[in-house]
């Protein structure tokens, strides 16, 4: 499914009165089956964009054409039901999930053995994996991932990123077309996961540039330095000092 986003204006009221304009005219179309990374500094409006696409925020001027039947979403926090086991959390979101399907998704995110645990028993890394497994388990045609690796240690971050890249490739190899939007502030996440990186920045946020990446996900590690150089054209991001002044 394709995605057409046209936001003329989106603003949040401020506690002090007045408002902060997040988007003052932004348009974006995502082709069916594309994996797109939204890359920008924290607070630039990536989450807001995902929430608008997910249909959670209607208070904006503009239109979003989104004919996804099933959305799988991973929020910045895991947002699992703390009073249900991991298996039940998956099953509640994906009622059609078979037992075999359940085992498959738990195994895919290395959660085997944790299906009977409640979220409070899990570390943050495990809880994030469970949230990702839930997003995939619903069999989405649109996948929305909001900072899927935030606040994880670096080793876990890398492993989870590799897991996610493998799952995206697996899904793409099937007949189903899964369109994905991944919001991240980490340039390597964007370069390693996406078919196209969209650079966001400024206040109100605008699209600073788009970088398509043709190389297969599995073979990008060696090319990362090259990709980073390409990305530097749009840059702001990746150079934290710039990003900060841009944000301020």
């Amino acid at each position: 499914m394709a995605l057409e986003i046209e936001i003329a204006r989106k603003a949040f009221p401020l506690a002090s009165g007045g408002e902060r304009v997040i988007f003052g005219g932004i348009s974006l179309s995502v082709a069916e089956g594309a994996v797109v990374a939204l890359l920008g500094p924290s607070g630039c409006g990536k989450s807001t964009l995902l929430r608008i696409v997910a249909g959670l925020d209607h208070a904006f001027a503009g239109t979003v054409r989104n004919d996804a039947r099933t959305i799988g979403m991973a929020f910045q926090e895991p947002r699992l039901l703390p009073w249900r086991t991991i298996a039940d959390n998956l099953r509640l979101a994906a009622p059609a999930l078979t037992d075999a399907g359940m085992r498959e998704w738990l195994a895919a995110f290395e959660l085997a053995g944790h299906e009977g645990d409640v979220p409070g028993q899990l570390s943050l890394g495990l809880a994030r994996r469970a949230a990702l497994a839930r997003a995939f388990a619903v069999g989405p045609d649109l996948l929305l991932l909001d900072e899927p690796f935030a606040s994880l240690d670096r080793a876990l971050h890398r492993r989870l990123r590799d897991l996610l890249a493998a799952r995206i490739d697996d899904e793409k190899s099937t007949a189903r077309k899964i369109t994905a939007l991944i919001a991240t502030h980490d340039i390597d996440d964007a370069l390693l996961l996406a078919d196209e990186v969209i650079f966001l920045g400024g206040a109100p946020a605008r699209i600073l540039g788009r970088l398509p990446i043709a190389a297969p996900r599995g073979a990008r590690d060696e090319e990362l330095t090259n990709l980073r150089r390409l990305a530097a054209r749009f840059q702001v991001i990746g150079a934290p000092e710039n990003a900060k002044s841009e944000h301020a």
Binding site: R51, A54, G55, L56, T70, I71, G72, M73, F75, E77, R79, L81, P82, W83, R84, L92, A93, A94, V118, P119, G120, Q121, R134, V138, L144
Partner: protein, 245 residues
């Protein structure tokens, strides 16, 4: 173990008190015990205890159901809350006695007036507690349920009810203690049976043995309900918190 010791100490102090003040001021535990047995044998105790218990259960159930519904509505709807909050404060601060008297004067000395008075007295505190629960609902989980297209029933059963359960349990626990005290006053003022009615009779006769013979079994019953029903229910309502979520 400590509880049993504590109860034993209480009985001992009571006995010492009875000895030093004399039976006109404080009957001995044994005398009260034999009055309880005598009243039980005539069937009076069971009948009046039953009548009071039925009123407690009916009033408690009505107040919990109505209070929960109103509390949920107020917690979810800010405009309604602003409109009705002053009323709530007024009812909350009206003495139970005033409500009971009005109920009897308007509705007559009958069972319906009694029940209305009991329910109205308990209602506002149930509303306030459940309203807190409705306000404290996690918007993040609500969004999750919307994105994953949870059905209405599924959202209620798995997302909302578990969040509200501790508040329902707290309202119930606080409610029972309040309701049974109010029921006694309601009975004392205008009912021909029940523990409150018997207490009034005992008071007229200055019969401390009879007073205690009705008070103690009823207190014991309420303590049992609290210990074996309501406290476990409250504990069960938030079992998952013990995993430090």
């Amino acid at each position: 173990m400590t509880r049993i010791l504590s109860l034993g100490l209480f009985l001992a102090l009571w006995q010492i008190g009875a000895w030093s003040f004399g039976p006109h001021y404080l009957p001995t535990p044994l005398a009260v015990g034999s009055t309880v047995l005598a009243e039980a044998r005539t069937g009076d105790l069971g009948f009046n205890l039953g009548a009071t218990l039925a009123r407690v259960l009916a009033g408690f159930t009505l107040a919990m159901v109505a209070g929960s519904l109103i509390g949920l509505a107020l917690g979810r709807n800010e405009a309604l809350d602003r409109l009705l909050d002053p009323w709530l404060v007024i009812v909350l601060n009206t003495p139970a006695l005033v409500v009971i008297m009005f109920a009897y004067i308007w509705g007559g000395l009958n069972e319906i007036s009694a029940l209305a008075a009991i329910t109205l007295n308990k209602l506002p505190s149930a509303v306030v507690t459940v309203r807190e629960g409705a306000r404290a609902l996690d918007p993040g989980l609500d969004e999750m349920a919307r994105v994953f297209a949870f059905s209405r029933w599924r959202r209620w059963r798995h997302v909302l009810a578990p969040q509200l359960a501790p508040f329902f349990a707290a309202a119930a626990r606080g409610g029972l203690a309040l309701v049974w005290k109010i029921v006694l006053v309601v009975e004392l003022l205008g009912r021909p049976n029940g523990v409150g009615f018997k207490m009034n009779e005992a008071f007229q006769l200055f019969d401390l043995k009879l007073l205690l013979a009705y008070a103690l079994p009823f207190v014991a019953l309420m303590v049992l309900a609290e210990t074996f029903v309501l406290r476990p229910a409250e504990h069960a309502a938030s079992w998952w918190r013990r995993y430090g979520a």
